[in-house]
Assembly symmetry: C2
Homo-oligomer: 202 residues x 2
DNA sequence: TGAGTGCGAGACCGAACGTTCTCCCTCATG
DNA sequence: CATGAGGGAGAACGTTCGGTCTCGCACTCA
């Protein structure tokens, strides 16, 4: 009953997916073949195609797993703070932690979309969906913090995040994180829960 | 005399490089083969290998051409403005123009480095060299504008540019440009020319 | 006029690509 | 015990990859 007719976890499938995740993230997608993946996952070719319709589905599963991980990490950071502004800082800090962590190789989604420029491709659309979720999430956070044009602030924060993720593996990660977190502070201070409409420093 | 013993422009080579540039930028590098390129350039395989040692050299030539183009565009923008702060704005506006232009597909260098994660690879190093030049250029511009921590401001501006370039082909380009240019204004106002030195528009 | 050369045309190479196939073993359930 | 599904092992599929090869034409310049 416990593992009856419904989908099994399948030890082999888990090895496959975690190996694909590791290699795709570290080396890119088009440049690694299924041979590499099945070899390092210690799985045969037939097993791969028993669990995934093809390489593309493996890529989609990789991105889906990354998406779940980031959502969970973001939710944890969000829940760790009390005030709205602190929630923005906590999410930003969790991003900075990722950039600083060893093996960081940029944003899995930005890297993937660079290899799948066709907007109609499922992989490209998965990236867009993830980004849409993130934009909405941070915009909501900033809105709760009382920022008047929450849309603009959200786009600003996402843009800063994208830049930090892109540069994090090309420059000194510590400097990138410092710049990013200072930029986040700038956003938080630039749109300060206004009583009158806009206008801040001058 | 005009086309003597020195290197010729070689009509075929020019077609090869412009075709490679167009296809690599629009569709990525690993996912297009030399067959595609020689077919669309209307050149035979032998001609390709007569001018380039291999695909990798073609990729390097593509990035070199992109680098020259961006440097020229930046220099033109820089020269078009009088005050230091206006030079920063002019360079930023030229970046925004690129993002808004049809066929924009992100930063050629960020896209390329996503496919060449190995820091020792010539393509990866070409990307780092280009980025180093850009960071130094904008830092110098901001320093001339009298911004006290010019390094931090330069890194901030580069981070914003990276984010804008990454998102420019994934979101509404107009909104991306608006966010980017507002962010640049924020940088210019956040590090306000210490006490005395420059200062132009007040 | 004849040597040199840039280029087109296309055959060809070995390797790697993603994918499908058969065969055999294991093991839980009828 | 019989059965059938899941998985390992690996041969093999056809295609495409990047790269090399020969050959012949058209052109330029000494």
């Amino acid at each position: 009953m416990s593992r009856g007719t419904e989908a099994r976890p399948s030890e082999a499938r888990a090895r496959l997916l975690s190996t694909a995740t590791r290699i795709f993230y570290a080396e890119g997608i088009h440049s690694v073949g299924v041979d590499r993946i099945i070899a390092e996952a210690q799985v045969t070719r037939a097993t791969l195609y028993r669990h995934f319709a093809g390489k593309e589905e493996l890529v989609l599963a990789y991105l889906d797993q990354a998406d779940r991980g980031i959502r969970a990490q973001t939710e944890a950071a969000r829940a760790s703070a009390d005030s709205p502004a602190e929630r923005v800082r906590a999410v930003s800090r969790s991003i900075a932690e990722g950039i600083r962590s060893p093996g960081f190789r940029g944003c899995a989604f930005l890297n993937a979309v660079a290899e799948y420029p066709d907007p109609a491709h499922p992989v490209h659309r998965a990236v867009l969906a993830h980004r849409q979720w993130f934009l909405e999430t941070v915009t909501e956070l900033l809105e709760q913090a009382g920022h008047t044009p929450a849309d603009a602030a959200g786009r600003h924060l996402v843009m800063l995040r994208d830049g930090a993720m892109a540069a994090g593996c090309l420059f000194d990660p510590d400097l990138v994180c410092e710049t990013f977190l200072q930029g986040v502070e700038g956003i938080l201070q630039a749109h300060p829960a206004a009583t009158p409409p806009r206008h801040t420093t001058a």
